[in-house]
């Protein structure tokens, strides 16, 4: 994976800059996938010097995003965060009690391993592709291929075995849990954000800012408005340049 890229001038392995490999920007969110948005939000929160490389170069695990730092490639957003925490001496969970850290882990996994599949199934099986928010229309052959692959993955996971109504219901229960726990707090655990806030934001932003035609967005607006409020708080705090990023700015470069 890294060998052919090293021939490109995109990476400077002598600098301390973290290169974040992710998909091209969406028209409504900086990334249409929750994991690059989680990782980039973390980098901003930690004030780590970074540059996004936009493309479809997959990691050694066959996925995106991944990072490169001083010649080292790290795949998987959570392993990337663990690596960066060590390298840069960062710990956004330092202010949490042991019990809060445990709850933080639980919500992280609920969002990334359950709500994520609700998002995937809704986006690829039940939504109109023109509502996805991609910068260009997806060619029909490519769309058919992705849908077929996603069906296989969702079936293997289990979410793809449920009906549309059941999937909606599962998503609603997750959103309810998040909303009830967040309550009136600014972030999940109070006035300071934690690692899990990056992930929850990465996921909810897909519903709140990108999939605005989806029933989950309507549900959040009607029944869980504190989740929408939360998304705006995270966006205003860590993405004041949101609109510039969507138009294409110096924070990213195409592969």
């Amino acid at each position: 994976m890294g060998s052919w890229l090293s021939r490109k001038s995109k990476f400077d392995d002598t600098s301390n800059t973290v290169y974040l490999m992710q998909m091209p920007r969406g028209t409504r969110v900086p990334s249409l996938s929750p994991f690059p948005l989680k990782l980039e939000t973390y980098l901003r929160m930690a004030k780590i010097s970074h540059k996004s490389i936009l493309g479809f170069s997959l990691s050694s695990k066959g996925k995106i995003p991944w990072i490169r730092h001083r010649g080292k490639d790290v795949a998987d957003s959570q392993f990337s965060i663990e690596y960066l925490n060590k390298e840069f001496g960062v710990d956004f969970n330092a202010h949490l009690t042991n019990e809060e850290k445990a709850v933080s882990r639980a919500f992280l996994k609920m969002v990334e391993e359950n709500l994520f599949w609700v998002l995937v199934c809704y986006r690829w099986f039940f939504m109109d592709p023109k509502d996805f928010g991609f910068s260009k229309p997806i060619p029909w052959l490519w769309l058919a291929y992705i849908r077929r692959m996603t069906r296989g993955y969702a079936y293997g996971h289990g979410m793809g075995r449920h009906s549309e109504e059941e999937i909606f219901h599962i998503g609603k229960l997750d959103l309810q849990a998040l909303s009830d726990y967040l309550g009136a707090k600014k972030f999940l655990f109070g006035d300071k954000p934690s690692e899990t806030d990056c992930s929850v934001f990465g996921m909810l932003a897909q519903f709140v800012f990108s999939n605005i035609e989806s029933p989950h967005c309507a549900l959040i607006k009607k029944e869980f408005p504190n989740l929408e409020r939360y998304c705006h708080t995270m966006r205003n705090t860590f993405w004041p340049d949101w609109d510039q990023v969507l138009k294409g700015d110096a924070s990213s470069t195409k592969l």
């Binding site: 993955y153 075995r161 309810q176 309550g183």
Partner: protein, 274 residues
């Protein structure tokens, strides 16, 4: 005229072999039709046969059966390899309704029997309970599935006798495929163990000294967590997962024993019938 006797005999032999194979396959695949009494209020829980060390070698039937016991809902076990319409097990049959997926079953039964074992939780606690349930069922589950089926050869120890090596082979193939689709199998064995350890840490830190996750009364998530941890604590005593629980998270083992003693006092008798 050239005699075609040799070819005819070959044809008859081939036809016979095909017919015999079809007969054996049909006999193997055709499952005995399950019959239920739809007039009674009993819940029929359809699950795989009992294990030798745990009542079920899968966490979800154990979760569901534990819930039925906690909620004191009358039920009867039907041990069968018949899967639900979603292609999975366990599933339930109640008054003519078949329902798959352990969590949908619990939601259905809560309504039918007017039960809510989460009633004592605050709204915030319910949120946390949901999060832990999903962590355990959508993350730790895949850690354990990979540890058992993806990395190394699965041992038959503790499995029902009816699950022979051929069955294990097909299960292993499917699980590898599903675990790759879900994502866990893209990691190395060391990374998967690390992911599991972080989940155990979270469970242990949240449980602390409490008897159950949220105090002295169990909730739905306790059933889910018990179903999962019991696979390690009681069924895989030689695994590195059990070793790490014993050494670093002993309150998780204590929790398993609390659940087992409270809701499975007949644990040994249940296994002996296998």
């Amino acid at each position: 005229m050239h005699c075609n006797c040799g070819n005819t005999k070959l044809l008859i032999a081939a036809a016979g072999a095909v017919a015999a194979s079809a007969f054996i396959l049909l006999k193997f695949c055709r499952k005995k039709k399950l019959t239920f009494n739809d007039d009674s209020n009993v819940v029929y829980l359809v699950q795989l046969p009992r294990g030798k060390r745990v009542p079920s070698i899968s966490p979800f039937p154990l979760k569901l059966e534990t819930y039925l016991r906690v909620a004191k809902i009358p039920y009867e076990n039907v041990f069968s390899s018949q899967f639900s319409t979603k292609g999975k097990t366990p599933w339930i049959h109640h008054r003519g309704t078949d329902l798959g997926d352990s969590q949908f079953c619990i939601e259905y039964l809560n309504k039918q029997f007017n039960v809510d074992i989460n009633a004592h939780l605050t709204k915030e606690q319910r949120g946390v309970a949901r999060a832990f349930l999903k962590m355990v069922e959508e993350n730790l589950y895949w850690v354990l599935a990979c540890a058992r089926w993806v990395f190394g050869s699965p041992s038959r120890a503790g499995f029902p006798s009816s699950m022979n090596s051929l069955v294990l082979y097909f299960i292993q193939r499917k699980v590898k495929q599903y675990a790759y689709a879900q994502g866990m199998a893209r990691h190395s064995a060391k990374e998967v163990f690390h992911i599991g350890k972080l989940d155990y840490q979270a469970l242990s830190d949240f449980l602390g000294d409490k008897k159950f996750l949220f105090g002295d009364k169990p909730c739905e998530t306790d059933c889910g967590v018990f179903g999962m941890l019991a696979q390690v604590v009681f069924n895989q005593p030689d695994s590195p997962h059990y070793e790490v629980i014993k050494k670093e998270f002993p309150n998780l083992e204590r929790f398993c024993w609390s659940m087992r003693e409270a809701y499975w006092p007949d644990w040994d008798q249940v296994l002996e019938k296998a």
